[in-house]
Subunit: 191 residues, 2 copies
């Protein structure tokens, strides 16, 4: 008998590993190519094993992905005034969405649940404590602003565009314009 290198006991499956692999597939190949079977392959496991960790199957997976890029928290440490807190939260939200464009359609569309819903409520409380009048209105406006900005920014990167340097210039513009619009929104919120 030939001495084979000992087959390592595979890393056990976990919700976190499943979500990471799913995000990798969605970002790299698109959401339509994210299938339970492909996801199983990526995790070196039969597709059916996933159901043990996500009993509601693919629907639960989609929910979890939306939650993952959408449940954003920013600690109130070192942030004085609701303006700074709002700004920090908006930036963190934008970054989280841009990091995983493959699931953006889920993030923009699925009603917030679980930790995402909790994060929204917490953010409203923080802004209220920091002295903002209608905090839940403000959170809605901020979420809308982040969603809209990221949507057109990601759309634009999918535009037909042969010139790669123009492409890069646009990305830098994205941040500049985001900050500019954010300033305007926040000044508008003080009334």
């Amino acid at each position: 008998m030939i001495d084979m290198p000992a087959k390592r006991p595979p890393v056990p499956l976990s919700l976190e590993r499943i979500i990471d692999a799913a995000l990798h597939i969605a970002d790299g190949q698109g959401l339509r190519r994210l299938t339970m079977r492909r996801l199983g392959d990526a995790l070196q496991v039969e597709a059916m094993a996933i159901y043990h960790h996500l009993p509601r199957g693919k629907d639960a997976l989609m929910d979890a992905l939306a939650e993952h890029v959408t449940a954003v928290q920013v600690g109130p440490e070192g942030l004085d005034g609701w303006q700074d807190r709002a700004r920090a939260w908006a930036r963190a939200s934008r970054a989280a969405l841009l990091e995983h464009p493959g699931v953006l359609s889920l993030a923009l569309t699925k009603p917030p649940k679980g930790s995402a819903l909790i994060a929204i409520r917490e953010q409203a409380e923080q802004l209220q404590e920091a002295g903002l009048g209608d905090a839940s209105e403000a959170v809605r406006a901020l979420r809308a602003y982040v969603f809209g900005s990221v949507a057109v920014e990601v759309q634009q990167s999918g535009w037909a565009d042969p010139d790669a340097t123009v492409q890069h210039a646009r990305t830098a513009d994205g941040e500049r314009e985001f900050e500019h619009g954010l300033d305007a929104l926040i000044t508008g919120l003080e009334r």
Copy 2:
């Protein structure tokens, strides 16, 4: 032999009928249940017949749906000043998206093509002719605003909410807040 009512020659398939039926399914049952076979059933035709009108298959169908809710034109008649035109265009865009929430994820996510892309360019030209400085910047900001507003508005209607009257109040709020934010955005655009 029994006299049967004469079988009417079926209405011939057309791109328009296909898109209408597809929107109906997506809005009523969700995008995930929009399949070629179900679409064929709704049109009283075998699924394969659809490929004659949409040679690129389901991808082409998705593109067409996004285009349909996204290619918005407003004639410049009776609209003086770029502010009024921008306002009219934003309202029309919001209405088109709210009418078909089932394909919102496509509309927010697919890069504009065909008539949708043309409508964007035309809108930029109109605003420029009406005296706006950086018109393409403005169109981007307006699109982002409409996308974000509609996204949170539609998300909210999917929220867990036992009280139906609260639900209805929210919808009315949606329009009020949209107009309010739109005013702020447009004043911000004049610089």
